[in-house]
């Protein structure tokens, strides 16, 4: 898998690793309790409060640090559950074919077409006090369909490959065929689908917190923005309140997308942007001609 680790993947993984680290140690290294109020109201970033304070004197830097955990926990848990679901449904549908395939495909298409965010909003609003894990569960229940569809398509094409047919002809049992012949070839796509689902989950949980549907006592980056919006931070020009949280979201999202691009390029080598070192300009439809006396080395 040497070529899987190109520049993009490494960059993405490092940023991601940084955030995971913050999520793990955040609540220990945070200088203040994020919910603790103080008398330093609406102060700009300073040496005592690196990201400034809120309207009730809470330290925003601590909020961002602690908030990382909320975001990442939901993101990764939802991603894991949704990916497990999509593998289960997608691969089974692709492999079994026939009526099972029709039913499972119809099911995933329904969940794909129905707008996810409004559905999540409604379901969560019916639940009185939704904690992180419950939200992760709701998100994964709506977000598995995309991956399932892709996996089904891949499984369909793999199923017809010769080596699978050969294994089947030697009498290997169905579940063994799925696990040992088909799955190893799906790893790249499963990884890509996992990353995509995590992106979706992260954005969803932040949105839910921002609107105020998810419990606002658990700190995550969306909650920070919720309070900022509530206190009219914009109108008051308190840019330090909402910029760090948003930047973190964007950075995490970019990191995940980079990882996905890296995986994409590994799967489909043609997508690689021409790495530097190509002195001759390639042009589709016209092979370049080098003509030097003396030929080539």
């Amino acid at each position: 898998m040497k070529s899987a680790l190109n520049g993009k993947t490494i960059a993405g993984l490092s940023i991601m690793g940084f955030f995971v680290l913050v999520a793990l140690v955040g609540s220990w290294i945070a200088p203040y309790d994020p919910s603790a109020m103080s008398s330093d109201i609406m102060t700009e970033p300073s040496s005592t409060h690196w990201f400034g304070t809120t309207q009730t004197g809470q330290d925003i830097f601590s909020q961002v640090l602690v908030g990382a955990r909320g975001v990442l926990v939901v993101g990764l848990v939802a991603g894991a559950i949704a990916t497990a679901l999509s593998v289960l449904i997608g691969v089974t549908a692709g492999f079994l074919g026939g009526v099972a395939d029709e039913i499972l495909s119809a099911l995933s298409n329904i969940f794909l077409v129905v707008p996810a965010l409004p559905l999540i909003i409604i379901v969560t609003s019916f639940l009185p006090d939704a904690g992180d894990f419950l939200i992760a569960f709701v998100i994964s229940a709506t977000g598995w369909a995309w991956g399932a569809r892709i996996l089904r398509a891949q499984t369909l094409s793999l199923r017809q490959r010769d080596y699978v047919e050969a294994a089947r002809a030697t009498g290997e049992r169905t579940w063994r065929l799925i696990v040992f012949e088909v799955m190893p070839n799906l790893t790249a796509i499963i990884a890509s689908s996992f990353v995509g689902t995590v992106i979706f989950a992260v954005l969803s949980v932040i949105t839910l917190s921002f609107i105020g549907v998810a419990s606002v006592s658990n700190w995550n980056w969306g909650t920070i923005l919720f309070w900022a919006q509530n206190a009219q931070a914009l109108a008051q020009g308190a840019w330090w309140w909402f910029i760090p949280a948003g930047l973190c979201i964007a950075l995490l999202g970019t990191a995940l997308s980079l990882i996905n691009f890296g995986i994409d390029e590994y799967v489909n080598p043609r997508l690689r942007t021409t790495a530097g070192g190509s002195k001759v300009k390639m042009r589709v439809g016209f092979t370049p001609v080098l003509r030097q006396e003396g030929g080539r080395s």
């Binding site: 129905v114 707008p115 559905l119």
Partner: protein, 326 residues
């Protein structure tokens, strides 16, 4: 044709599923929002209103679940989505009818522009490999990772609060009455610039990337080589042979991601207090206005299904392989 019929059938099934989910939600999730509301509005509710609320929330223990289901469907066909809590006593359907034109006008138009523009840029980016466009990709990726609403917040703080060039909230100048005169329309346009730009910038990256990747894949197909070998002008090969084939997955991708797009545009409306259906949903969530939320969910779902059907029609027109052989 068979393709279209199959798709239409699928959409009907999905619609049925969405309606049923909507029906089931208040009955299966904990929490008892309705009693509080009924208690609050006791004196002002007509018996019909109370009856329809009972149906909506399954409080009528005298009738069976199945009968309630039938009545629910009956109400739907009459256009009765219940009464809104926050805009009491306005019926939900009226609230939605007032706000949906704003959403369609702004978000609908912007989404389509973003798709078309993004796809065209993607065609060029994919065709001319190794050009300066490739260097833009990391930037566009960053922009696509930004949540729509945060970009909206930034836009507001920079352009509205900081610079004062554009209004920070609302759909039109407060005090104006909606009508079809120039004063109102120009005001509406002015107020829509920031939200539109926010949606455009956030979403265009995805289309560019998707189309670029497809163009790259298609450019190495045999029929493109044949087109070059035939000595056709480059524009013809790029558009008629490569782009024409590469755009097909984008169209089905567009249809499928409509649900996601809708989510994003809702948020933009919330941030800008733009009087569309997203903003109404926002107020509904905060006030725990369940009839309103459910009604909006239904309408949004139906709209997405219709859009999907339209996308399928377009796909049918573009890809002859989906039409059965004569």
């Amino acid at each position: 044709m068979r393709f279209l019929l199959r798709r239409a059938l699928f959409y009907l099934v999905t619609a049925w599923a969405a309606i049923t989910i909507n029906f089931m939600l208040p009955r299966f999730l904990p929490g008892d929002p309705v009693q509080a509301m009924i208690a609050r509005f006791q004196g002002r509710l007509s018996t019909d209103a109370i009856a329809s609320l009972y149906v909506l929330f399954g409080l009528d223990t005298k009738t069976s679940m199945f009968d309630q289901y039938i009545t629910y469907w009956g109400n739907l066909f009459k256009g009765d989505l219940g009464l809104s809590f926050t805009y009491f006593p306005t019926p939900v359907s009226e609230v939605i009818a007032q706000s949906i034109p704003w959403t369609l006008a702004l978000m609908g138009v912007t989404t389509i522009i973003s798709f078309v523009l993004g796809t065209m840029i993607g065609v060029y980016a994919g065709w001319k490999r190794g050009s300066w466009i490739d260097a833009l990709l990391p930037i566009t990726t960053f922009f696509s990772a930004i949540p729509y609403f945060w970009l909206g917040l930034i836009a507001i703080s920079v352009f509205a609060v900081g610079w004062g060039a554009f209004p920070a909230a609302g759909g039109y100048e407060p005090g104006l009455v909606p009508s079809f005169d120039w004063e109102f329309i120009s005001s509406a346009l002015y107020y829509s610039v920031l939200p539109a730009l926010t949606v455009l910038i956030s979403s265009i990256a995805g289309w560019i990337l998707g189309m670029r990747n497809m163009m790259v894949t298609v450019s190495s197909e045999d029929y493109v080589t044949v087109a070059h070998a035939k000595g056709l002008p480059e524009r013809r090969v790029m558009l008629g042979y490569a782009a024409r084939n590469a755009v097909l997955p984008s169209i089905s991708g567009f249809a499928l991601s409509l649900g996601f797009i809708v989510g994003g545009t809702l948020l933009v409306e919330m941030v800008f207090s733009y009087p569309g259906i997203g903003y109404v949903l926002f107020t509904g969530v905060n006030a725990k206005d369940y009839p309103l939320m459910q009604g909006i969910f239904l309408i949004i779902t139906m709209a997405v299904l219709v859009a999907n059907l339209l996308a399928d029609v377009v796909y049918l027109m573009l890809d002859p392989r989906t039409r059965k052989a004569a």
